[in-house]
């Protein structure tokens, strides 16, 4: 699971008012390089909840992102590289995502989060 995905995921357990962002329980993180697309980064930047991305990247061991960011920083190649790295190149392979209100664990195995709810949670 990339941090891009984490930035989009929200707990949909019944009764939860705000299920975002999910906490991260780290067991295994893997780094996989992928080509940088400035178009994609510029497009996606406005959708990203920056604090959640910073916190998530620190949870998986990457602390290079600035605490705050605004669109003007997208002009900087160095910022783009760090943004790209945090967003797309760090994978949570094993661990779990945690609902911020209920603590419910959504397991992540082989990089795949399982967000399916049980019948009593729906």
């Amino acid at each position: 699971m990339r941090l891009l995905t984490h930035n989009m995921l929200s707990s949909n357990v019944k009764g939860v008012t705000n299920g975002f962002p999910l906490g991260i329980e780290v067991e295994k993180v893997v780094e996989k390089q992928v080509e940088l697309s400035a178009d994609f980064l510029i497009n996606i930047f406005s959708k990203i909840e920056w604090k959640a991305l910073v916190d998530a990247s620190r949870a998986v061991g990457y602390a290079e992102l600035p605490d705050q960011a605004d669109a003007s920083m997208l002009d900087s190649d160095e910022f783009l590289r760090k943004f790209h790295h945090a967003l797309l190149e760090l994978h949570l392979e094993e661990g779990a995502l945690l609902c911020p209100e209920t603590g419910r664990r959504f397991p992540v195995n082989k990089g795949i989060p399982n967000m399916l709810l049980h019948e009593d949670e729906v």
Binding site: M1, R2, L4, T5, M8, L9, S10, S11, N12, T17, N18, F20, P21, L22, G23, I24, E25, V26, E27, V29, V30, E31, K32, Q33, V34, S37, D39, F40, L41, I42, N43, I44, K47, E49, K51, A52, D55, A56, R58, A59, V60, G61, A63, L88, E89, L90, E93, L98, P100, K110, G111, I112, P113, N114, M115, L116, L117, E119, V122
Partner: protein, 388 residues
């Protein structure tokens, strides 16, 4: 310093699996011997990662029902009916690798839609199956989800970003994607409320101005011989359906008592083989008429708006043994053997769509409009644009 604390308490290592590109080195590289002793690391202060509410975020809209069929049901639209568990979820789990091997042809209309998206778009594929369309446009980033873990594993093995989720309750916050696609998915949802909810979810997760492409199997199949292989579901057992059913197929409010039909021989005239249900639920099924009558019976079915079917999937024996799920499926009566074809036969539940049905489902939506609609290769297709 926080940074050195992080180095001590977290770890990551570089793995050669799944990629052929050179590894970027950084100061935090540990070798794998060290890491093999560090199996589980709990993040300290996990709760600190959970931020407070974001006031500018769209709140998840409460479930709205603009159909009537759920009013008598005590179960929510997100509750999976038995018929879908047995005849969609379990079937796809059992047939996943074989199913995936047959899903490779990229449908031109879907490819065209994806190729038309702006560079850098984020595309969400809900019900992505074996990931056939993930990455189709290299200028876009795709995230796929499906309810079947075996299918999702196939996607993950191919390097795609995927997760296991329910199309009726997408775990995505609102307005994130540029586009969403639902290719041959909604026809596996057994109630109108669930189909509507799935469409609402697709619209919810794209941003304003975002596009949603939906394709579903049509009642109006171009290959009539194919339809003759399907088993029409004429009556529904209440427990099988769990509450809300297609209202126009219920002739009385009382529950139906259904009987099992003894198996009949399949013959070259296209009779459909019957099947026996387990005691948990039995379904009445008809055999197709002979060829001479098929045209008349098809018309009769169309007139009666027959839209509920079981569609067979033949899983070759050698594939069935590999998956392992078939032994229990056979024992439970969920599947049957066809020795002549050397295959385990599963039935998949379908609600095929009639002309205009997709439009009708979206007509009540206030935040989306239809921007295109077409019929292609026996599928009804619609493109929506989110307006607010």
């Amino acid at each position: 310093m926080i940074f050195s604390f992080l180095r001590a308490s977290r770890f990551f290592y570089l793995s050669a699996e799944n990629f052929s590109l050179p590894i970027v080195e950084s100061g935090n590289v540990f070798n794998s011997k060290l890491l093999s002793t560090m199996r589980e690391i709990k993040v300290k202060g996990a709760s600190s990662i959970c931020s407070t509410n974001f006031s500018d975020e769209e709140t998840h809209a409460p479930q709205t029902e603009f159909g009537n069929d759920d009013q008598n049901s005590s179960l929510g639209v997100q509750f999976t009916p038995e018929i879908e568990k047995k005849y969609v979820h379990r079937v796809y789990d059992a047939i996943a690798p074989h199913f995936s091997s047959t899903r490779f042809a990229k449908w031109p209309k879907v490819a065209a839609f994806l190729s038309s998206l702006p560079l850098g778009s984020l595309v969400l594929d809900a019900g992505c199956g074996n990931g056939k369309y993930l990455g189709l446009n290299p200028g876009c980033f795709f995230i796929g989800c499906d309810i079947s873990l075996p299918l999702i594993k196939i996607c993950a093995d191919r390097g795609h970003e995927v997760l296991v989720a329910d199309a009726v309750n997408l775990p995505y916050r609102a307005g994130f994607g540029n586009a969403a696609i639902s290719i041959a998915v909604l026809h596996h949802l057994s109630t109108e409320s669930r189909r509507k909810k799935a469409i609402e979810e697709l619209v919810r997760v794209v941003k304003k101005g975002g596009l949603v492409l939906i394709t579903v199997w049509a009642v109006e199949q171009e290959d009539r011989a194919l339809v003759n292989k399907w088993t029409p579901i004429l009556e529904k057992y209440d427990e099988e359906w769990i509450g809300p059913g297609s209202p126009h197929e219920r002739s009385s409010p009382s529950s139906f008592k259904l009987e099992s039909i003894p198996e009949t021989e399949e013959n070259s005239l296209g009779h459909v083989r019957g099947f026996k249900e387990s005691s948990a639920g039995r379904l009445r099924e008809t055999t197709c008429q002979s060829e001479e009558d098929s045209a008349a019976s098809d018309n009769a079915r169309d007139v009666n708006n027959q839209q509920e079917y079981f569609v067979p999937w033949h899983l070759p024996y050698h594939r069935a043994e590999v998956s392992g799920a078939s032994a229990s499926a056979l024992a439970n009566g969920l599947a049957k053997k066809d020795d002549k074809k050397g295959a385990v036969v599963y039935n998949r539940y379908y609600h095929v769509f009639s002309e205009g049905e997709l439009e009708r489902l979206v007509s009540g939506m206030e935040n989306a409009v239809v921007v295109d609609r077409f019929f292609d290769k026996s599928n009804w297709c619609i493109i929506l644009e989110k307006t607010s």
